[in-house]
């Protein structure tokens, strides 16, 4: 008999941490700036997943309001970086 907290503790959190480490390797290696921006976007999504899982783990829905804000902020950061990559190319 497996419970939700066991699932979170033994499956979901380790896979999120492994994903975080793999994305961090890509951010450090990444040849172009676009790869790093994509990694940063994925890290924002990993943070969303951590917040959702913590709010299930501690049984408190207060944290779930952060998820909406974090999704919008991550989108805005990616759009700003795309604009910056474009403009940096034109100034060369």
């Amino acid at each position: 008999m497996i419970s939700i907290n066991d699932t979170l503790f033994f499956i979901v959190f380790p896979s999120l941490v492994i994903s975080f480490i793999l994305i961090l390797i890509r951010i450090i290696k990444g040849p172009a700036l676009a790869d790093r921006v994509i990694g940063l976007d994925s890290m924002g999504f990993i943070a969303i997943g951590f917040i959702v899982c913590f709010s299930i783990y501690y049984n408190s829905p207060v944290f779930l309001d952060i998820v909406t804000v974090l999704a919008i902020i991550s989108f805005l950061g990616t759009v700003a970086f795309a604009y910056y990559i474009d403009k940096g190319r034109k100034d060369d």
Binding site: L16, F20, P31, A34, I38, F75, A82
Partner: protein, 109 residues
């Protein structure tokens, strides 16, 4: 019964997120990486948020979380499109085995 739905959603979401991270590390091209992370991470985190909806079962929380899923489904392809266009314009290399390149003859500005 609803516990098993939540557990299934959580495990499926975490497997999809792990596949996304492996794809982001292993794929050979910037555009393939963009494709992997934008599609799969959208589905994975939407499954997480669906698990939270089933866990709490409150009307207000469900409504806000469905709005968040809608926001993710709208904004993730737009962000991927913008960053892909910027990466193509800034001269990032395609993979060797790429078959078709539709933007090759067009001078985008």
């Amino acid at each position: 019964m609803i516990e098993y739905i939540i557990i299934f959603l959580l495990i499926t979401g975490s497997v999809i997120i792990l596949i996304t991270a492996i794809g982001l590390l292993r794929l050979p091209d910037t555009f393939l990486r963009i494709s992997a992370t934008s599609k799969a991470s959208t589905l994975g985190f939407s499954l997480f948020i669906l698990a939270a909806i089933f866990f709490f079962g409150d009307f207000g929380i469900s409504f806000r979380m469905l709005a968040t899923i809608l926001i993710i489904f709208i904004t993730a392809p737009i962000a991927a499109n913008l960053i892909g266009k910027a990466a193509y314009k800034s001269g990032s290399k395609l993979w060797d085995k790429t078959k078709s390149d539709d933007l090759k003859d067009i001078d985008i500005e």
